[in-house]
Symmetry: C2
Subunit: 303 residues, 2 copies
Amino acid sequence: MQPPLAGLWTPSATPFHADGSINTGRLIEHCKSLLADGSTGLAILGTTSEANSLTVGERRLIIDACADAGIAPERLIPGTGATALEDAVALTRHAGELGCAGVLLLPPFYYKKVSDDGLFAFVAQLIERVGAKVPRVLLYHIPPIAVVGWSIDLVGRLIEAFPGVVAGMKDSAGDFDHVVEMIETFPGFAVFPGAERHLLQGMQAGAVGCISASANVNARGIADLIRHWREPDAARRQDHANAIRNAVESRGLIPSIKAVLAARYGDEGWQAVRPPLTALNADTRRELLADPAITELLETVPA
Amino acid sequence: MQPPLAGLWTPSATPFHADGSINTGRLIEHCKSLLADGSTGLAILGTTSEANSLTVGERRLIIDACADAGIAPERLIPGTGATALEDAVALTRHAGELGCAGVLLLPPFYYKKVSDDGLFAFVAQLIERVGAKVPRVLLYHIPPIAVVGWSIDLVGRLIEAFPGVVAGMKDSAGDFDHVVEMIETFPGFAVFPGAERHLLQGMQAGAVGCISASANVNARGIADLIRHWREPDAARRQDHANAIRNAVESRGLIPSIKAVLAARYGDEGWQAVRPPLTALNADTRRELLADPAITELLETVPA
């Protein structure tokens, strides 16, 4: 029995060794810390994880490293999207065989202005080829980065064609109206806003939780907001989460998150990103760590 | 001794079997036909080849299939770009070890608004990690699809840092002024317009040739235009090439090219594309094949 798709699923950042290879030891330490801090589960291999800067073999390695470290597969929603259908099939099948809670599926993002029919065919062939053990599929809608997105019409077709399989969405369109439209158009569809900025409003509107990059540094705050959104101090919790979000987003989201994690875990190596991303320069890093929201965070949430 | 980077390099379309796997027999037949029709060489694994819809293993298979079929590596410029540096390294190294004329390098195209420093680091690490046998690198500039592009400033930095390695560009910006700017800014840099629409003007301005999708159906016409651009009837050749280009481009470039190849080779299987692309519907295909430019082409350039 799979758990409901709800709560905070953190897209864990990926630490690298000095030679550029994945530091699975640091990764597992971080993943366990995120769970201890209140993450319902881990949306490993997302945009924040630099998943598209990893080979398919490395992506598989990360899924296996989590499972091997004793993280229950029901707590994992790996990103398995790829421009090549066969790669998406291989990763999705692997996640399904392990028993993961679901997968987060980017549309194939190389060609632009592709038709809904072409995207439908991609998902249909994926589900068919993965076969009996296909996990629940959450559509990953992030047009600011992938450019290609899942249209409302296409989402409706997919839910109708694959009931119980196409089960939700991470909505990173950056447009709260779109979150509300998804929730209202598709009752029972698990809609996760892709950031916490309007999370309280989102929960009020019927969102099931959140999948947000900045949960890497503020899992506790965001998880608390999801858990206590009906309580009187929810607006204060939202403001507090937004202050932390602003501090990392305004300076480059992924490198800033990694700079905070470097400080939190006391490991400079955490700052490394793979190209084409670049680590924060020393000045920006200093500013970031001196931001009151981050200073407070590092004092109150030690490793 | 590598041949000069010049002439017509055709980005061969990729035929698939009914089960979706690559039809290497049909591919080799097509590649040899393109060379017989006047292509200087083959820019295999480009956008038209659906390279990003193939796994890294399949991309390697296509390079090897060409070499195994007796196509000289000096006639191959494979596309080796990828969002994951390690994949680009593996493919570029393989091309270098085989002795390919060069590689065509997409920028890592998942993250958007990345810095020139990040893209520089991607190329620098690629060249360093491939090592001694690094082939010449042609930058593949196609912002309408990849969104991420190679800025003029970055191209200058790369040429300066890697003289003789960063050797040229396929410019598919779709902006003739940009082609001229590249030629004028970087003397000795091999600039290939990414389509033949302004090829005559491009040759007059100093372009070295062309790398164009529609050469899959009109290699002879485009090769002749490149060879005879100084002659009085060059404008007529340009108009003729444009008529063919218009016929395929206006109906969806890649599926239209494959529909023409299906007719040319008498093999319906040639129409298959991988999702998210879709094959032409029957009506559009009929219109395309009834277009005077295509009718004439199929009569005068039999398989």
